[in-house]
Structures are given as C-alpha cells and as structure tokens.
C-alpha cells in the first residue's frame, strides 16, 4: 500500500553480533498515533533508528512516506527525537532551536511556536544544560516539532515527566495527528498505550502484536493493556 506512512517488511538488525530486531513487519497508515511499546532493551530504539535511516540494517525494507528510509528528501519530512536528549547543552533553548530551524529551513517563527508547544516559554532563555531532566526532554522534543514534519518518530518523549505535562503532550500528539501528521511514539509505560490509535508490542526484537488497543484487549480477554501484554508474552513463549 503506497498510501501508508510507514511500511516495514522483514526488518532484521544485528548489533554487536546479536539480533536486536528480528523479522519485523508492519504498516502504519497516515494521520494516526501509533504506540511502540515494550520493555527497555526490546529493540524499540533500534527500530526507530532504522525508520529515520541512521541504522545499518541487515535485511528487510523500510519504506517511509513512499520512499526508502534514509532518502535525502525525507530529511525535511521527518521529526525525530532521541531518547537521550540530543541538543546542545551549552546553548539556550531558543538558540539551539534557532540552529535546528535554520538547518530545516523552517520559518523563524517556528522557534517560539515549538517552545510554547512543549511548555518551555518561561525557560526559552535558559541554557539547555541547566534545565531539569523533564525540561531537557521537552527541549529535545521541540526540535522534532520544527518545520511541519509529516512523520514524527519520538523515542520515549514523556519519560520522567509529571502527569499533567504528560497529559498535555499527549493532547499535542493528538492535535498533530488530527492535522494530518503520523506519529510513532515509543514508551514502556502501558497506561500511555490507551491513548494511541494503534499499538505495536515488541519483546526481545520480535513484534508480538499490531492492533488497536481495544481490539487487543478483546482478543486477549484481558482487563487492561498490561494484562493483554503479559498474555501475549506468555502465549509467545
């Protein structure tokens, strides 16, 4: 299906001789929020790196917005936020974002927009390195929101945030999806799963499930998604 935002078939990645993503296939339609869930170390980050095109893969294909992952035209169209903040600690929030906006040829007004979107307006003039952990994560997320990315790949964007902020960010993700963007958001917190349109459950490099949250609960007969995940893990082993 050429219309899907993301099509992964038979993806295999080996790191340090060990398979970390093994024979993963799925498709993600445009304009939805997809949660990528699984325990720490299950291959979520590697899968995301393959999608943004910075991971050397052993086999399989990754097609992003109709193009092979890593194609130069995609660099304008994907917003990527790594799990560990990748933003210059010795710049202020505004200065760092101004640089990334220049790289993306995004309008200058974008800087203040994304700062407001992640709730850092009061800290825009502070050095990134002096921000608290949660603020640092949000500054990192702001970089991914610059320009108007069609696909957002966000690796654990809400980790370490208080519930109110988490709620605000999920509302933002929803707004972005309603505006036509496709989001792939990884998390290891199951209660965030319910806020996604679709879920990809990963464990030890293998995709366990690819379904809507409700369908997943119904299929496994579990009371909540945590139970559903456990059910799938036990069924797989």
């Amino acid at each position: 299906m050429t219309n899907s935002a993301l099509a992964v078939t038979g993806l295999r990645v080996r790191r340090g001789g060990r398979p970390v993503v093994w024979d993963v296939s799925f498709e993600v339609p445009r304009g939805v929020v997809t949660g990528l869930l699984g325990p720490s170390g299950c291959g979520k980050t590697t899968l995301m790196r393959a999608i943004v095109g910075v991971q050397i893969v052993e086999g399989g294909t990754v097609t992003v917005l109709g193009l092979p992952a890593g194609s130069p035209p995609l660099r304008h169209r994907i917003g990527y936020a790594t799990q560990n903040p990748a933003i210059y600690a010795d710049l202020t929030v505004r200065e760092a974002l101004r640089y990334f906006a220049a790289v993306l040829r995004a309008p200058a007004s974008d800087v203040d927009r994304v700062i407001a979107e992640v709730g850092l307006t009061d800290h825009a003039g502070e050095l990134v390195g002096s921000l608290s952990g949660g603020q640092h994560t949000r500054a990192n997320l702001a970089v991914a929101l610059l320009g108007t990315p069609e696909l957002l790949v966000l690796d654990e964007p809400t980790v370490g945030l208080d519930p109110v902020l988490r709620d605000e960010l999920w509302a933002l993700f929803r707004r972005l999806a309603d505006g036509g963007a496709t989001l792939l958001v990884s998390s290891h917190v199951m209660d965030e799963a319910a806020r996604c349109d679709r879920l990809l459950l990963m464990r030890e490099g293998v995709l366990l499930a690819d379904d809507a949250p409700l369908a997943l609960r119904e299929r496994t007969g579990a009371a909540d998604l945590e139970q559903a995940f456990l059910h799938l893990v036990r069924a797989a082993s």
Binding site: R15, G16, V52, G53, V54, Q55, I56, G70, P72, R75, H76, I78, Y80, T82, N84, A86, I87, Y88, A89, D90, L91, T92, E95, Y99, F100, A102, V103, L104, R105, L127, V143
Partner: protein
C-alpha cells in the same frame, strides 16, 4: 553544499563559545602569553627572533587541534551529530561551519600573538605582517582539520587528548624547530617531509627572514592549505549517516 547552512553552523559554534567565556579568554590569550614567556626565557631578541616564527605557527596549530578534536567528539558522543545526520544538512556544511568558526578564532588568536611579538617582544620581521598572519592562520586551520579528522578514531575524551602527543608532537619535533631539517638522517628527513607542519614552519621562517614572497613560500602555503582541505574531506568521510 549550502552557504546558509555553513554560516548557521558557524554562528551556532561561536554562540556556544560565547557561553563559555573562560575558553574564549584562554583561546585568545594563551599563545600570546607563551610568546611572552618564550621571549624572557631566552632573554635575547636575537634568539627569540630565531625561534618565534615557528612557534607562532606551532602554538595555534596545537591549540586548534585539541579544541577541534574535543568539540567534534562531543558532537558525536552527545548524539547531536546523529540528529544532524537525520536532517537536511550536508557533512561538508557542518565541517566548513566548524572551519569558519575556528578560523575566525584563529585570526584573533594569531593576530594578537604576532602583534605582541613584533611590536613589543622585538621579533625581527622582514616580510609583511599580513603574510605572517596568513601563514599562521592556515596553520591553525590545519591543526583544526587534523583534530576533526582524528576525533573520528577516539571513543572517549581521554583517547582524544592522547592523540595530541601522537599526531602533533612528532610534527613539532621534526618541523625544524629543534634541529635544522637538513641535518636530520634520511629517515627523519623523509618523515619531516611528509608532515605538513614542516611546510608551515618553513614558510613562517621565510616570511620573517625576507621581504620577498618567493616560490617556496607559495608552494608551502599551497601544501598546508591542501593538507588542511584533505583532512577536512577525510573528516567528512568519517561522518556516517548510518551507524551500527
């Protein structure tokens, strides 16, 4: 290549430095202070005039090598490089951005050290100050380009620091500063001929000794510039969009 992105990168690096005034002060003042120290260690303008030209090239070369290898290593280890590799910026935009930023600092650094040496410490300069500056800045750029390149082979800052004695000190020992290159055995002589710093030092010595810009100076400038460019290109080759 996109000049706007190169300049944005230059601006970003200079802004980073502006937030670190201590580093800026050290970058600008240290070579000058070392020249002053050197002058009074020898306690003779004659001896000083003999070694100073070479050191006007060596000090900025050394400092820029260190600064560049640490900054690029930091860009690699903090994953900002990986982020840039997912964005529409060319590897050369990034590296030339670095070269411009550090080049600008090198101009200030060298201008101060050369000015103090000529007008206060009594360095006997036969050639033009402009030419002296040009050679010394090229030298600093060479150090920067080499630093950028070798930082690709360092995993930690400890390793990056250790590359200084490995890549820089042999060049200083063999550049003709301690022993004239003509007096070296064939092996050392040959080694000194493949090391770019030797050409920079020879050019600096000629600029200070004579007012004519001869073919040797021009050839040496060309060698230094080409080596710097080559190191930058090799540095670009070490920046990979895809990593394991």
């Amino acid at each position: 290549m996109n000049p706007a992105l190169t300049l944005a990168t230059t601006r970003r690096i200079l802004t980073q430095l502006r937030h670190d005034p201590r580093t800026v002060v050290m970058l600008v003042l240290v070579p000058t202070l070392l020249m002053v120290l050197l002058r009074y260690v020898f306690n003779s303008t004659l001896v000083f005039s003999h070694v100073a030209p070479a050191l006007l090239g060596v000090f900025p070369f050394l400092i820029m090598f260190l600064i560049a290898s640490i900054t690029t290593l930091r860009e690699r280890t903090t994953a900002t490089l990986e982020r840039l590799m997912t964005l529409p910026i060319g590897r050369l935009d990034l590296l030339f951005g670095y070269a411009l930023a550090f080049g600008a600092i090198a101009v200030v650094q060298v201008a101060l050290a050369a000015g103090v040496s000529v007008w206060w410490l009594g360095l006997d300069l036969a050639g033009s100050v402009g030419m002296l500056l040009l050679v010394a800045v090229l030298d600093a750029l060479l150090g920067m380009a080499l630093g950028l390149f070798v930082s690709a082979f360092a995993r930690t800052e400890f390793q990056a620091i250790q590359f200084m004695p490995v890549f820089v000190l042999p060049q200083i020992l063999l550049c003709g500063l301690f022993v004239p290159r003509d007096d070296m055995g064939w092996l050392l002589r040959w080694l000194s001929e493949v090391m770019p710093l030797s050409y920079a030092v020879e050019a600096l010595n000629r600029v200070t000794a004579s007012s004519t810009v001869d073919a040797v100076i021009l050839r040496n400038l060309l060698v230094v510039a080409c080596c710097a460019l080559m190191a930058l290109m090799l540095g670009a080759a070490t920046l990979r969009r895809r990593t394991p």
